[in-house]
């Protein structure tokens, strides 16, 4: 089983990202589970969402304490909370920032990947909503889910032009991470 923790701020679509990831993994033939950290949601406040992926039925209902992957939608959270808390040494943290991994001074033995997802979102979607972009980056960096399934889930959730733009942003982030 792989466990994923998504950090963001209220309004950045972290819970939606978790749901779309669970749907994508299911489409890839896996069992999946996505749930929010059950907070009282306020725009701008730190929020978390969790995803589990497995080839077997998922029964565990606790929060995720030792994730295999961490996705950070907003780099300003690094100063506010320990985003790498419990992250497995052989795991990976993917952060939305224009900075390089070495400039972040994160306390983790895990791999650190960065991507300027906000820039990709602004360029392709036209809005600084980076949740689907981060899913593309996650697919590229982890190989746990296919970019195709994420794009399908995104198109299904946001029908029409918005979905197409988001799917393009997913592919762009995926390509950038795979090439880097």
């Amino acid at each position: 089983m792989k466990e994923i923790r998504i950090h963001g701020r209220g309004g950045q679509g972290s819970v939606t990202a978790a749901e779309l990831l669970a749907i994508s993994a299911f489409e890839d033939g896996m069992y999946s589970q996505a749930f929010p950290s059950f907070g009282v949601e306020r725009r701008g406040a730190p929020v978390m969402a969790f995803v589990r992926l497995s080839d077997k039925k998922i029964r565990l209902r606790s929060q995720v304490y030792e994730p295999d992957y961490v996705i950070v939608q907003d780099a300003t959270l690094i100063e506010a909370i320990d985003v790498a808390s419990g992250l497995k040494a052989d795991g990976m943290i993917i952060i939305n920032t224009e900075r390089n991994p070495d400039d972040l001074s994160l306390e983790t033995k895990a791999a650190v990947k960065t991507i300027d997802a906000t820039r990709i979102a602004l360029d392709i979607i036209g809005k600084p909503i980076m949740n689907t972009v981060m899913l593309g980056a996650f697919a590229g960096a982890s190989g746990e889910v296919s970019a195709e399934s994420i794009k399908n889930a995104v198109r299904d959730r946001f029908p029409g032009k918005v979905g197409e733009k988001n799917a393009d942003a997913v592919q762009s982030a995926y390509d950038r991470v795979v090439e880097s």
Binding site: A18, E19, I23, F26, Q33, A34, F35, F38, L60, Q63
Partner: protein, 401 residues
């Protein structure tokens, strides 16, 4: 969001899944008042109605008291009825709960389990429904979203059985199941229509054949009415099993009768729980078994009627029973499941230590490590006897000392 009913196996939110399950049972009347974390369920249902995806009448009301009162009238008129609520909303329904049961009206209601105020808290425990355990409603608790869907359909079959004719609460853990996205088989309308026949009420309000429901009775009659409700509750035991078995025949899924057991055959320690915690316990049991710890699990599906015989049979021969209660009956120091298990064993030959663990109140998370610590305590009881009979698990001692 579209109000068209989805179908087939897919990843959906638990709230959507139960709204879908309720919708596919073809309720004539739905009435509910939105309250966290039940809100998504009634949003989805009202969307289904607004979009014409289902034919139900959705009655908007100004409170939970009115929601359930609307169902009293609808059910007495012969309608299949549905509601959903949680916590303070259920508490506001308190006196109407007794009315539905006393009038033998077979409504089905989803309880999205949440703690009770004060202090106000929107997260999961079982205090809301456990507090209503004497109301005459059958109470079924579910472990995951698929069981929630399947039990919702079974609930109508049980409730509307003429031998039972009692309302049923299907209890699901707030947020943990209401807000989770996971794979679920959404049931097919035709298959459910074959499983669940139309509601044939035992007795209805009919202007051409006037009669009264829930009228005034003096001491000459009241106690006998209460006895009849208890008899109906007792008859529901076999009907709960029948509904599970016929569901298995139709849909190939089965969750046990009034209880379910896991790895109990050679167990020395048995953990008892209800709801979504059971899933975490299954993982914990597998993990502990792999380390040679002889632990098993007893899941209570039906808390009302209380499965005393089934529990006694399952735990006879083990060395210690740990009851994990997501509720506290204040003034007893323990949860109601623990108290009732102990009470049900008193006149039997079974003399096993039963230890009560109050756990997860107000949404406090229950990691596998917490379960392992409970099992370690059970091992201590086997070696050294009972030192502590009841305990609050993962209490923050610095806050309460």
């Amino acid at each position: 969001m579209t109000g068209k009913l989805k179908s087939g196996r897919q990843v959906v939110e638990g709230s959507y899944a139960v709204a879908h399950a309720a919708a596919i049972c073809r309720p004539d009347v739905i009435s509910a008042y939105p309250i966290t974390p039940q809100t998504h369920i009634v949003e989805d249902l009202s969307q289904f109605v607004a979009d014409g995806a289902i034919d139900s009448k959705y009655i908007n009301v100004e409170s939970e008291f009115s929601a359930l009162s609307a169902l009293v009238g609808a059910s007495a008129a012969g309608a299949r009825t549905y509601s959903a609520t949680t916590s303070q909303g259920l508490a506001l329904m308190h006196e109407v709960l007794f009315n539905l049961a006393g009038m033998r009206l077979p409504a089905v209601m989803t309880i999205v389990n949440r703690s009770m105020s004060a202090p106000i808290n929107i997260w999961n425990d079982h205090q809301d429904s456990m507090t209503e355990r004497d109301s005459g409603w059958i109470q079924l608790y579910v472990e995951d979203v698929q069981e929630l869907v399947d039990t919702t359909v079974q609930a109508y079959l049980i409730a509307e059985d003429p031998e039972v004719s009692l309302p049923v609460m299907v209890c699901m853990d707030g947020f943990i199941l209401s807000h989770v996205f996971e794979p679920v088989d959404l049931l097919d309308q035709k298959a459910v229509d074959e499983y669940l026949p139309p509601f044939k009420p035992v007795s209805i309000l009919d202007p051409d054949d006037p009669k009264s429901f829930g009228m005034f009775v003096d001491p000459e009659y009241y106690m006998d009415f209460r006895y009849l409700v208890e008899q109906a509750m007792d008859r529901s035991r076999s009907k709960i099993l029948d509904a599970a078995k016929s569901f298995e025949s139709a849909f190939d899924r089965y969750y046990g009768d009034l209880i379910d057991t896991y790895q109990t055959d050679d167990a020395e320690i048995i953990l008892v729980a209800m709801g979504s915690l059971v899933g975490t316990l299954r993982d914990a049991v597998d993990d502990l078994r792999s380390k040679g710890v002889p632990v098993g699990l007893l899941k209570i599906r039906a808390f009302r009627p209380f499965p005393a015989d089934e529990i006694a049979e399952a735990i006879a021969g083990v060395k210690v029973v740990c009851v994990l209660d997501k509720n506290i009956s204040l003034g007893t120091g323990e949860g109601a499941v623990c108290t009732e298990i102990k009470a049900s064993l008193y006149n039997s030959d079974i003399r096993i230590p039963v230890i009560g663990f109050v756990i997860g109140l107000g949404g406090r998370d229950i990691p596998v490590g917490t379960v392992q610590r409970i099992v370690s305590k059970a091992e201590d009881v086997i070696k050294h006897g009972i030192k502590v009979e009841r305990e609050f698990v993962d209490l923050k001692h610095s806050l309460v000392s």
